[in-house]
Symmetry: C2
Subunit: 213 residues, 2 copies
């Protein structure tokens, strides 16, 4: 993978933006990179920018008061972080954690620019609206899964989501990681995974899980 410039990323990932908007962004955004495993955002942090993901995948977690973490969704190249928009707009902090799972790169759009972009560029306006919409829907799915389903169904939902976002049949996840993401415990997850294996839905190996179907 070559080292892309801001301009490259914007032209590759945001083809729907009108040329003037792209130029505006190229002139004003700043780029920042993170190593796999690093935290992009932490509880209590204040945003002064809207964050666009241009490389790598980022896991977004909700943090509980006692340090628990609960996985909500992935951000991928071309996505904006809805929470950074919200927090940036109101200068508020939020109990959110973002963790890079690959080496990742983000672009930061200064909040001072947001109102102008919204007014001048319809494609930006639609992009922001679509970001809110899709994240809202995603949160509702998360609520569904914990409000209406047992841990076994949540686990299935979780594995399916992982498979989609990593687009792989082999998930490099330990039972402990899954347990943490679902705010459960390793033993319980191990047992449920074993049942799924017995039902022929997955196959278990050391350090990874193979999705069947």
């Amino acid at each position: 993978m070559t080292q892309n410039s801001i301009s490259d990323y914007i032209h590759e990932l945001f083809t729907q933006f009108e040329p003037a908007l792209k130029e505006k962004l190229i002139a004003h955004v700043t780029m920042k990179s993170f190593k796999a495993g690093e935290l992009l955002m932490q509880t209590g942090q204040y945003f002064r920018s809207t964050v666009l993901i241009v490389k790598g995948r980022v896991k977004l977690y909700r943090e509980g008061t006692d340090g628990d973490e609960f996985f909500m969704y992935y951000l991928e190249p071309g996505d904006a972080c809805a929470l950074s928009m919200i927090c940036a707009a109101k200068q508020e902090s939020s109990k959110i954690m973002g963790k890079a799972i690959d080496d990742s790169t983000i672009l930061m759009v200064p909040i001072a620019l947001m109102d102008e972009l919204m007014k001048l560029y319809p494609s930006w306006y639609y992009f922001v609206m679509e970001t809110y919409r899709s994240r809202f829907e995603e949160l509702l799915l998360v609520i569904d899964s914990i409000a209406f389903n047992g841990l076994d169904e949540r686990l299935g939902f979780y594995l399916k989501k992982q498979g989609e976002h990593l687009n792989a049949k082999q998930l490099n996840l330990t039972h402990q990681e899954i347990a943490t993401d679902l705010n459960s415990s390793r033993e319980v997850i191990s047992r449920l995974l074993k049942k799924m294996e017995q039902r022929g839905e997955i196959r278990l190996y050391r350090n990874y899980i193979e999705l069947l179907n």
Copy 2:
């Protein structure tokens, strides 16, 4: 309570809107009333308008696949329904239920008007952004309560929220209603309420609960 006109409601509840925006809205919104207990929106319904609440209180539920309902939050006069915005914008349906708990009135802003309002009136733009922001935060709190807390804490959280939104110390709720809202069962709720009473946090009566503290 006198029968208010669209104009009355807009001038009373949306004082932050600039005069031209108020006039625009008055000219284009339609008003609709619901009796207590009626459903404002149902699973599968398509919105062709953004909904503003101007009278009464509305409970918003998420619906599960098997007809379960899970209470998320209240909408009050002056609020916009973020979900109606989202669904209207994309012409999608959503598994959402809204129930009027008082006699309620809403204003419906045609989606065709939305882009224009967003561009022309900064106060509308901020109102929409603030609506997304506050509902997003509210959903995150809901996720917190079900992801990190036991049913006992969720019940406390629920009662507190009810107290705030009904601004009363006496909650006219049956144990069955609470159980339904929390997607639990009456017996369990009864037992937990009894424990809260023993701890001196509430007092139980037939058909209502008194909040102490």
